[in-house]
Amino acid sequence: MASVFEQTIARNERIEPRDEMPDAYRATLVRQIAQHAHSEIIGMQPEGNWISRAPSLRRKLVLLAKVQDEAGHGLYLYSAAETLGVSRDELDEMLRTGRQKYSSIFNYPTLTYADVGTIGWLVDGAAICNQVPLCRTSYGPYGRAMIRICKEESFHQRQGYELLMTMMGGTDAQRAMVQESVDRFWWPALMMFGPPDDDSPNTAQSMAWGIKRNTNDELRQKFVDMTVPQAKALGVTLPDPDLVWNEERGAHDFGQPDWEEFWQVVKGNGPCNAQRLAHRRRAHDEGAWVREAASAYAARSQHD
């Protein structure tokens, strides 16, 4: 006879924190939600790089709000992960010691200000593609966190696209800067959906459990189809000679990212892996006195 867990999944109902669940389901969720949370936290760095050099007060305010949102998203997700019986300190330590991963996209540098726009458009655009189906994921707290995040991501994508539109309406040098940025981020953005389905051994089980709702390749295709008309409206070229509309499929054909590069970055050999982790560790260490002071203040107030 099917377990209560299996029956709940079969009815497409949500699993809640105190329900019984298979150990592997719990472990998969912890890994996925933690990785997602870490990505939001590390994701503050590439864009944070441009806060002090934003070209106007308006752009600086927008960028600050966006980076603050990424912190918030990380916290929503840590909160969801904690309902599975892991502690936030534990997760934070796993990130700082490199025992849990974050999305490889954040191991690429932001070399020009146009990258702020490209990240909003392509990176957050890809994230939205990934995340919208996760609002219906089978684990309740994860789905609820995703709903909050998706509402806010829309601002992220639109501010990025608007930034790029403004630059495309500027000088030749600005247009060239946008194109160069898109050229650098296009393939890493496609990698954000993970390896091809044939090379993604966990996908089938995650879909059976209702954690994932679509395969990596399905979501990648959706992203390409969504992005092509946006690139056209913007006036940039996507750097893929194989990208062409396929009338028969009713979808775009496109080339494959360099999966060897992808695995290298996952293994820690990307352009910024070491820098991102070092920065995270430094921020943690330099914030220690604040945490200690808050603890001391709370302890004293309790004694009064």
């Binding site: 329900d19 918030g72 909160s79 904690e82 309902t83 603890s295 001391a296 709370a298 309790q302």
Partner: protein, 102 residues
């Protein structure tokens, strides 16, 4: 508590559950959790994390450890008493269709 324990960052920061009233006239609704050193910090962090876009007009925070919850294991027996009381629902009563405003 030794000084060493006191200095250890965050080890003792309790978990708080956060409830937000979206607007006047609505109940407070659970939105998530956070860690804080004390109640006031929990409230301020709740504002920063959960109401960056005017999502609330009022926030409650309560230590997670203070919440008493029913157990999912006793789901059936705990809620069973209301299961056979169909007469508590208006649809239990047959009223002719031509009787108005019922």
């Amino acid at each position: 508590m030794t000084e060493h324990d006191e200095a250890r960052p965050r080890a003792g920061w309790p978990l708080y559950e956060v409830f937000v009233r979206g607007k006047r006239g609505l109940n407070h609704v659970h939105v998530g959790s956070l860690h804080a050193a004390d109640d006031q910090m929990a409230l301020r962090h709740a504002r920063d994390v959960y109401t960056r876009r005017n999502e609330g007009v009022s926030i409650w925070v309560v230590r997670s450890a203070a919440i008493v919850a029913s157990s999912p294991d006793e789901k059936d027996s705990f809620f069973e008493p209301s299961g056979d009381k169909v007469y508590r629902h208006p649809t239990f009563y047959d009223i002719p269709d031509d009787v108005p405003h019922m």
